[in-house]
């Protein structure tokens, strides 16, 4: 070990280097475990049933990943700050339904960009309310967001409406349909990957940039690591909380409007109830539920894993009712894996 010459008096040796085994790598990058599982599933399924690799099923999965993916990026942010959010689906439902209703009844010619921006801002506003409450009340965000989930959803059903909106304005239908890529399948049908699919990778890149290239990103992880220490070191906790929850709300608002356009209808009873699956995806992506960890790459991996499991098991003859069993088993396996690794240390 080298020592700086004039420092010999006060120098103490660096800690020994950690061995670089595969186990150590998985310990440091837990998302690689999920990535390995994902690859194994994809290879196995495509060997058993090559239909898995056809454009139509890939596109199905691509489409299915968008809404979960946007939600998951938001949950990643919340777990990074050391919180848990269960209200994002209610934010998505409230903003998508009220916005669609508004466009249909009041402003049918609203340009699509304006609709999307409004959804994002609306979601951000509701999210900011979460963040403000978490900071004001100093209670765990799980409690706050259970409260706001009921509040947002109750407000939607009591004051906005309970009727399914089946006739969307044309610009929203067009947005849901606009193709990025089109393929003709063997039986002559045309399947296309919609342009809105790009929103998920784009949001992932933006999230990555915020969390890795700005001070805010580091402040979020600092708060998730130890909130009282972060406050002592000068990271303004109110700003951090409001930012993170607003960010998650914005992604939820965006996910909501895409959900409407993709399904060509707005159902006020939709979305709420899928929180656990989204949280599961993020946890499978290596984020700890106790906060302060996680990566965007891991989150994307977790989302893909959940999407593939939900869409491919049918292709190999496993009934769809077994999806939950499989996802549950993965989560427990991953947890057991990390616990045993930690005990060995």
């Amino acid at each position: 070990m080298t020592m700086v010459q004039d420092m010999t008096d006060t120098a103490i040796p660096n800690p020994p280097r950690k061995e670089r085994s595969l186990g150590q790598l998985f310990q440091r990058r837990p998302e690689l475990v999920s990535l390995s599982i994902l690859i194994v599933i994809c290879v196995t399924v495509s060997i058993i049933n090559p239909a898995f690799l056809q454009p139509s099923s890939l596109i199905d999965m691509g489409r299915a990943s968008v809404v979960t993916g946007l939600f998951a990026l938001g949950v990643f942010a919340i777990l990074a700050v050391g919180g848990i959010d269960v209200s994002f689906t209610a934010i998505a439902a409230l903003s998508m339904y009220s916005l669609t209703l508004f466009v249909i009844n009041v402003y049918p010619t609203a340009p699509m960009t304006l609709v999307v921006v409004t959804a994002i801002l609306g979601g951000a506003g509701l999210g900011a309310l979460n963040g403000w409450l978490v900071n004001l009340l100093q209670v765990p965000s799980l409690i706050v967001t259970i409260g706001t989930q009921y509040l947002f959803r109750g407000f939607l059903l009591a004051f906005i409406g309970t009727v399914w909106l089946m006739e969307l304005p044309p610009q929203m239908i067009a947005f849901g349909k606009a193709p990025l890529l089109s393929f003709e399948t063997a039986n002559g049908a045309v399947v296309s990957l919609p342009i809105y699919f790009l929103v998920f990778p784009a949001a992932a890149v933006v999230t990555w940039m915020i969390f890795n290239m700005t001070l805010m990103g580091r402040a979020v992880f600092a708060t998730g690591g130890k909130a009282d220490v972060a406050a002592r070191l000068g990271y303004d906790q109110r700003t951090v909380h409001i930012f993170v929850f607003a960010f998650t709300g914005a992604l939820a608002g965006l996910a909501g409007i895409i959900h409407v356009c993709a399904n060509r209808m707005a159902n006020p009873f939709d979305l709420v109830g899928t929180e656990i699956e989204v949280i599961a995806a993020v946890v499978l992506g290596g984020a700890r539920i106790t906060g302060g960890t996680g990566t965007v790459f891991g989150t994307v991996t977790g989302v893909l894993l959940i999407t593939v499991v939900n869409n491919s098991l049918v292709l190999v003859g496993i009934p769809s009712t077994w999806q939950r069993v499989v996802v549950g088993a993965f989560i427990l396996l991953a947890a057991a894996f990390f616990v045993t690794r930690q005990q060995k240390q």
Binding site: M1, T2, M3, V4, M7, D9, T10, A11, I12, N14, P15, R17, K18, N212, M213, T214, L215, M216, G217, R218, A219, F221, A222, G224, G225, K226, V229, A230, A231, R232, L233, G234, Y235, D236, T239, V240, F243, G292, T293
Partner: protein
């Protein structure tokens, strides 16, 4: 912010600072001054307001009354960012590192945060981050290689974590570095290195303020002493002008002599015995015995295996070789619960995270080991029996409150430790292993703990004290075992040996290796 009424020539001056927390009047008019390049030792018993004053200086708490004069400008309160901007850096006792961030980020993020006045929506300059961090890490005597800089701090040993915390303090233009009990869990060698580092800081005109219980180190470092008692600063002056007796008198308001507490002698019966014991690569070939009513001290550097030995004695760690006997019966401990069943109690070093239910009351903490004794015939806890037991313990341990419904978190460190040790009195263990029983505890509480320890020994409990604090071992133990690199290298008589002798055994081989 306004112009100071009478200009202050000091770097930092506190004038008439009061702080109230609800009904508690924690600071009652504190005046103190800090000048560049000087060392200060803030002394006082637990609960005298030392931590509060530090938090006011570093902007964590807002004073209720009074003013803070920093570089000639008067403030009624500081924000953490303002304090950091002025170059006031604090190394808290818990080090305040962010466990999930890398060394690089822990050291250097603050500089960018402060230079942007706390604004967060800014680009993170990674090049600056790594340059600042490398330089600071080099300045505290570590090698800023990639492996270290990209480790998360949760993965580092304590001595390195402390260096990282100090590196953070000096990464920006620090002018005052506050260290809250920095040497509490360091070995002697590490303490020496820290003292060198402090000298270096002072030579760069940085003021250093220590909060400490260790007078010996304060005398070695020199500089000024600031003594607190009951929320007031009762003395500030050159430490050389005060004797130890003066200082403990100032701190406690009464006189405490440094006496040998141990007066009784152990009984003949051997209560606990280990032969040829080993555990992994932590310790080897350890043979020892403890008699009934004997107090055995075990010391050594932090990596000498003494901590693991303590854990093994209490069933927290398995033996890979060797045998164990309790009262002449060969036995194996399979778990801490098994050890308790066999009459071995353990008071951990880290009372906050390992020993106490910190939000629960004294009462609830005291009865955790005796549920089976205080249940009534319906299997419910009999409150009056439990309360009687808890009251008895409080009296035995001389707690300074009779209100057993107070949450433990409201007590000072010394009283918390007494609650923790007292809990074992409820089951009268045959053997009690005390791990660092007075870490971070003030003079007055130490006295009470030592008296309680001696009383237990007189009642026939065998005690094992694992500690760094050599005066503590010399004052309390019948025998002192010294561990070095996993082996017991010395077995000394507590009444006749001395600190020098113990240090030599502790450091043998280490000194040659360091040359």
């Amino acid at each position: 912010m306004s112009q100071s009424p009478s200009p202050s020539t000091h770097f930092l001056e506190l004038r008439g600072i009061h702080k109230r927390f609800g009904g508690v009047h924690a600071l009652r008019g504190v005046d103190m001054m800090i000048d560049p390049g000087e060392a200060y030792h803030l002394l006082g018993e637990n609960g005298c307001g030392k931590s509060t004053v530090i938090k006011i200086i570093s902007g964590v708490h807002m004073p209720t009354e009074g003013s803070i004069i920093l570089d000639g400008r008067t403030y009624h309160k500081l924000s953490p960012i303002q304090a950091l901007e002025a170059g006031i850096e604090t190394v808290y006792q818990d080090l305040s590192l962010l466990p999930n961030l890398t060394v690089e980020e822990n050291v250097a993020l603050g500089q960018q945060l402060v230079s942007g006045k706390g604004r967060l929506l800014r680009r993170l300059d990674k090049k600056l981050l790594s340059e600042t961090a490398s330089e600071a890490i080099r300045n505290v005597g570590l090698v800023p290689d990639r492996a270290l800089m990209t480790s998360t701090t949760a993965d580092l040993p304590l001595a390195i974590r402390q260096r990282v915390a100090i590196a953070r303090a000096i990464a920006s233009k620090a002018r005052l570095v506050i260290m809250d009990e920095p040497t509490t869990s360091l070995t002697r060698h590490e303490v020496d290195a820290l003292i060198e580092l402090v000298a270096k800081l002072r030579s760069q005109n940085v003021a250093v303020l220590f909060v400490t219980h260790k007078l010996e180190e304060s005398y070695r470092i020199g500089g000024q002493v600031i003594v607190f008692r009951d929320g007031q600063c009762v003395a500030q002056g050159q430490i050389a002008d005060y004797s130890r007796a003066d200082l403990s008198c100032l701190m406690t308001g009464r006189e405490i002599e440094a006496l040998r507490y141990r007066t009784a002698a152990p009984q003949d019966e051997v209560m606990f015995k280990m032969s040829g014991a080993a555990s992994g690569d932590a310790f080897f070939d350890v043979s020892l015995s403890v008699k009934k009513g004997e107090i055995l001290g075990i010391t050594g550097l932090s990596d000498s295996g003494r901590n693991e030995l303590a854990l093994a004695m209490a069933g927290h760690r398995g033996l890979s070789a060797g045998t164990m006997e309790i009262a002449g019966q060969a036995t194996r401990l399979t778990s801490p619960a098994d050890a308790i069943d066999k009459g071995i109690g353990y008071v951990p070093e880290d009372r906050l995270s390992e020993g106490l239910f910190i939000d629960k009351t004294i009462y609830e903490n005291e009865i955790t080991l005796i549920f089976d004794q205080i249940v009534n015939r319906f299997g419910m806890i009999d409150d009056s029996k439990g309360r009687a037991a808890a009251h008895k313990i409080s009296e035995h341990m001389n707690l300074n409150t009779s209100d057993i419904d107070l949450p433990v978190s409201a007590l000072s460190g010394g009283n918390q430790q007494r609650v923790l040790i007292g809990r074992w009195l409820s089951i009268e263990p045959r053997i009690l292993v005390l791990h660092g029983p007075t870490v971070g505890v003030d003079v007055g509480s130490k006295d009470a703990i030592y008296r309680a320890v001696q009383a237990m020994a007189e009642r026939g409990i065998s005690l094992v004290i694992v500690s760094d604090d050599l005066p503590e071992l010399l004052q309390n133990c019948d025998r002192i075992l010294v561990m070095n690199r996993g082996r017991v290298v010395d077995d000394l008589d507590g009444a006749t040996t001395n600190e020098e002798r113990i240090y030599r055994s502790m450091l043998a081989n280490h000194l040659e290796a360091a040359e």
